[in-house]
Structures are given as C-alpha cells and as structure tokens.
Amino acid sequence: MLLIRNGRVLDPATKTDATLDILIEGDRISRVGPELDARDTEFFDARGLIVAPGFIDLHGHLREPGGEMSETIETGTKSAARGGFTAVCCMPNTQPVNDNASVTRSIVERSAAAGAVRVWPIGAASMGSKGEALAEISAMKAAGIVAVSDDGKPVATARLMRQVMDYCTPLGLPVIDHCEDPSLFAGGVMREGPNSLKLGLPGIPAASESICVGRDIEMALLTGARLHIAHMSTSGSLAYVRAAKRNKLRVTCEVTPHHFTLTDEDVRYDTNYKMNPPLPSRADRDALIAGLADGSIDAIATDHAPHHPASKDVEFDRAPFGVLGFETALALGLTELVDSGKLSLTRLVELFTTGPARVLGLERKIAAGEPADLTIFSTEHTWTYRTADSPSKSRNSPFDGRSFRGAPMATVVAGRIVYRR
C-alpha cells in the first residue's frame, strides 16, 4: 500500500483540482479523498507538489531491437521515468522493423522484464515500413500494439494509406502518420527560410509537411479512420487539422517540446538542432502554441530519438535526424507554455495525460479502481538538465546545460515509485 498525501491532485478527466490523498493498493488506486487514514502504509509526502494522472508519451524511439548502441528499452524507459512518463509508445522503426507479432512480443517481453515504465508498441503500417504490402497488423494487435505508423517516413502513397486506414478501422487502431512529401523534402536538413539560405543548408519547405497532412485528411474523410498526425510542425498542417475537426473527422495531432520551444533561427552547425520535422519558423512555432492552447492540438509527444554520440559528431548534413526528449518535456512545457502565460497548468497536464490517452482510445483518470499510474511534479523546483547525468545511452539534446523551473519529482507506475528525484 502506498499513500500519497497532501498533493494538489490535478486531473483534467474528473476536473479535479484539490488537495487530496490517494491510496494505492497493489497496482490500482483504491481511494481518493481528503486526509485519508491508512495504517501500515508507505507514505509519499506530496505537499507543494502536483499529482497528475500518469503521463503518456505517444511518440518515442527506444531503439530496441537493433539500435542498442543508442538506447535500449531499459535505458530509454529509465529516462522516460525521469521525465515523469508512465507509458511510452515506441515507434516501429527498429531493426528488424516491428511489422510482425514476434517482434511485438519481444518488445512487450523485454519491457515487462527491463522496462521502468509501461511500453506500448506501435506497429508498422507496411512490411518493413517500405510502403508496399500491409504489415501483419491484426497479429500485432493481438500481441499488444496500440497504433500503426511507418514513422521515420510517411505512409508512402495515398492508395496505401487508404488500405491501411480501411484495415485498421474495424480493429480500432489509430493510424499515425509522419507527414512529409519526399519530393519536396528532397535531401533537406532544416526548415527552408532565411537561416537555411545563410547557412547554406538544404531547406525543407513547410509545405512538405502540410501537403501530406492534407492528403491524409482526405483519406480519413474517405475511410472514416482514426488519423493521428505525428510531430506536427507547421501552421499549414494545423489549418488542415482544424478544418478536419470542424468537420467531425476523427483526426488528432501531437506537437513536440522542441517544436514549441525552438525555431529555425536557433539552428547552427550543431547536429543537436537537426531533427525531422525540422525546427519551425517563428510564425509556425507561435501558431503551434496557439493550437496547444485552444485545444486544436491533442497531445505533447517527445519524439525522443536517441543517437549515439559518434553518429551525431559529424558534419551537419551527414548526421541523423532527432533529439532526446523525455527528460526535458515537462520542464519545457512549464517554462515555455505555462510560465509564459500561454497555457493554464491544467491544459498542460491535459496535453500529457487525457489528451494522448484519447488519441489511443483510452481513459486516464485518478479514481478508485483505476491503474495506479501517477506523475508527481513540482512547478517550483529549479534544476539544470545535463545529458551526462541521463540514464539514456545518448546525449543528443539541444537543451544540455539549460536550467529549468519545474520538474518531475516522482513517477508511479502500477503502484510502484519507479523514479524519485
């Protein structure tokens, strides 16, 4: 038994914002109320802290199997726990690609054995994510996938997207797409604009993303499928998503912390500023923040993308895309969105909890009988993020050395404290 006492319980699902105690028995919440009394119980004093439903990350790369030089399920989930995440959806672009039930099962088993937090695999949409034949989606669903995606690249063609959507709809699986038009992307390494021109780095126009978002929404209209836009980074994409939502399509989207924090003007010859989608223009960044505030964007997802140090210690155009994300996500949300007055704290919590849960068709709330997954954080605690201290195997973050106010203080998964600051 674990009693979390005197925390400010902030649960968007039940619209709770009050100082309450939470009693956990086994892996579930047994009681929620003021000044609970319990004997022979482990206590956690949450006075001055926020107690929220467990954070869910819809988008992470744990690199196992096949990329263990950069990350493993063990190191990645330890890093996620430090970031306050109680569940991580891991993308299928492993080696081999998670396109069949045996890979899914191995991820599920490794996670059960070595994972610090829950791992919810996402299956490939096509075999090998090659954009040709459909992956073994039903079998993977039986093995535990929560969505499908060919992340790292878009579902190759509109025709394939239509087939994937048709197939996934009766299975109740959302289709997550990494939206880009390969012909416009064309070897680019950062957002096209004045800074790409100055640095002489090949630019990717914003339309590369939005044109594909438009395509996918057309396919969602045709099929009625659940479509989720991964790591959305442009105002053009957001306009398409808003229109789809107005038309009652089942379309959702996520934004990463680096896309609401940094812009293309921050890019320099430092491969920790190289990610895909690339950092947005300032106008697009501001539009994304507005979308996070007004509810057009459903979730904050990290796109945690570890790359081992040697692979990033190369010329900018030769480096792989991607940055670490788990451990800075909440702190960036608090500093960039809440402290700046653009979002309420409740809205931020929603974007880490009920928002991503709804994308997956789940409910997340703090109530008796619910799984005891909780994220306990401080809005005041000051700290400095140092990649050298991270349990991740990689160090590729543009936020190394940055000081923050606000941090996860404890992460509770299935009734166990898996991380405590």
């Binding site: 064309a186 604009g193 004045p194 021109l197 100055k198 640095l199 002489g200 780095l201 090949p202 010859y269 040697a310 210690d313 190369v314 010329e315 900018f316 155009d317 030769r318």
Partner: protein, 323 residues
C-alpha cells in the same frame, strides 16, 4: 584595435576593418608574385595541412603555392585517396592530420559548416577553402581585392551577381564582404536559383530575375559558373540558360561602360559567359587568379605566422628572402 583572427571560417563574421586589413596585407604579396625569386622564409619550418575533401584544382594549387611561397611545407589530403573512402569520420581524419603537428589546416568540404565543425575541435587555425553551399571566403576576398584594384575602391558600387545564387558559396561570401562596404548588390538568375528571401541575407540586396534588369547600371558583374555536374535542381536546358542568362557583349552594354567582369572559374565558355566577354578588356578573370595567391599568402601569414598587425610586412622586408 584590429581583432586578430584565429580562423577564417567565413566572411559573415569579419568586420569591415578586418577585411580592409587583409586586403592591405595582400597588396605587397601581389607585387611579390612578379619577383623572379618567389620564395620567402617567413613561414619556414611551418607546415600547412591542405585537406581537400572535395575535388578542386585551382583553389588547392593556389593555397599550396601560397604556403610554399611563404616558405611553409604542406601536407596534402585529397578526397579520392583519403581514408574517408574507408569510412573514417571527418573528425578522426582531421585529428589524425593534427597529430602530425601542422601549424594550420586548409579545408575544402562538400558539407556546409564542416570547417566550423573542425575548428571547434582542433587547436590549430582553420582556413575555409569552400564548404558546401555556405562560404568560400578567400574567393570573396580576392574578388574584393580585384574590384579595389580596378575600380580604386570598394565602397558604393553596384555589383550584380549572376547565376545560381542558391547553391553558390562564392555568392554568399561576396554578399557578406560587399554589404559591409555599402555595396548595392543585385542577385540575378533563374527564379528557382535566386529565391526572394536572399534579400534578408544582408542589407542592400535586390533580387531580380531578368538579366537585362539585373545588368542595368552595374559597375561590377560577377558571373557564377553553371555547375552542370551537380546540384542544380531542377536542371535547366543549357540552351534555355544561354538564351536567358548568358553574359554576352550585347548584354554587357547595359552595364556601366567600364564595368568589371569577374568569374570565380573554372569558366564554361559559351554557357554562362560568352568568350568575347571572358577574354575582353573588361574581364578581370586572370587577375583574380593572381590575386588569389596574394590573399591566401596574406591569410596564411596572418593566421599561422602570428605576427603583430603592425609588424614589418615580409614581402617588403627583402632581408627575409629565402636563400
């Protein structure tokens, strides 16, 4: 007080005073090229690593000759024969070179930012001999020297740069140099190679897509090479380029009567420039090559020789000549 350079990574961050200083330092080296015995002892005992990760003839020979005429030894690495072909990373390659204790390294690389990447990781001065589509600072400095010689000054001219600006490191470096001297810069070429947003690169830039408009009133015309072997996308039929953008004698008449024509070379005669213009009296093409030596000698002397800015100039102090 003049801020000493520790590297030459580009012209963007050079001050006007630093540029003027480099051009002044190059002057005596320019005259030195006419001397029968072209060898100084200034950098005797020093070694310059010449690391060309991308093929080049003229810039490599120019740097090698500049080092040699200053008395330095060179060690050369060329892309074709390098360990890069065996999968060695850039950082490992340059650290290996550094372990042989050169006093400076000249880098040409296909990746924008590669010299800066190297400079952040090595202790020795790094000279950028052209990086991707970013900068080619020595080319812009030699262009500036050529303009100053021919036109008496740099300030206030109208300079038109003609061709594929988007993919040109020469254009970028020239923009950064010239804009610091109040030059009015016109960028001209096919619209997909000359995006409007280039106007934000520096003050005083105008983008036009019609060659007649681009040439009108120009005091200097810089013609860029059409690099048929790579990077232009989409490819443009040569005949289309010739008909719309070739610098012909007739078109050159739209510029000022004494307009100077420059080209970073190598020239593709009959494509971007008509032979009559390339070889005509207004062409400064061969002076550019000679001035390249002078500029590179000045930079190697400044960065590797380590002399104070007010030290006697080595090319003037003939007691310094090698025996």
């Amino acid at each position: 007080m003049l801020q000493r350079l520790s590297h030459l990574l580009g012209t963007e961050n050079l001050t006007r005073e630093q540029i003027a200083f480099i051009l002044d330092q190059a002057k005596p080296f320019q005259e030195f090229q006419r001397h029968p015995l072209k060898k100084l002892a200034t950098l005797r005992g020093k070694t310059v690593a010449i690391a060309f990760f991308e093929s080049s003839t003229r810039t490599r020979i120019s740097f090698t000759t500049a080092a040699s005429r200053l008395g330095a030894d060179t060690m050369a690495l060329q892309a074709e024969s390098s360990s890069l072909k065996k999968g060695e990373s850039l950082i490992d390659t340059v650290r290996t070179l550094e372990a042989m204790r050169p006093d400076g390294i000249v880098i040409r690389h296909a990746s924008s930012g590669a010299p800066e990447f190297v400079a952040q990781r090595l202790e020795i001065p790094v000279l950028n001999a052209g990086d991707g589509t970013h900068e080619h600072p020595t080319q812009a400095l030699l262009d500036a020297l050529t303009i100053r010689d021919r036109k008496g000054k740099l300030e206030g001219w109208n300079v038109t740069i003609l061709g594929d600006i988007l993919h040109s490191r020469v254009a970028r470096s020239n923009i950064h140099v010239l804009s610091k001297f109040g030059v009015k810069i016109t960028l001209c070429g096919p619209a997909m190679w000359v995006p409007r947003e280039l106007e934000k690169l520096a003050p005083g830039i105008r983008v036009v897509h019609c060659i007649e408009e681009g040439l009108r009133g120009a005091d200097v015309v810089m013609v860029l090479r059409v690099q048929t072997e790579r990077i232009h996308e989409p490819a443009l039929a040569p005949d289309e380029y010739i008909s719309q953008f070739q610098l012909t004698p007739a078109r050159l008449k739209l510029a000022q009567p004494e307009a100077l024509v420059l080209h970073p070379g190598p020239i593709v005669r009959g494509l971007e420039i008509d032979s009559a213009v390339a070889d005509g009296p207004q062409s400064g093409v061969l002076e550019q090559v000679t001035n390249g030596l002078a500029i590179r000698m000045a930079l190697l002397y400044h960065l590797i020789g380590g002399a104070a800015a007010d030290a006697p100039h080595p090319a003037k102090d003939r007691t310094n000549a090698s025996d």
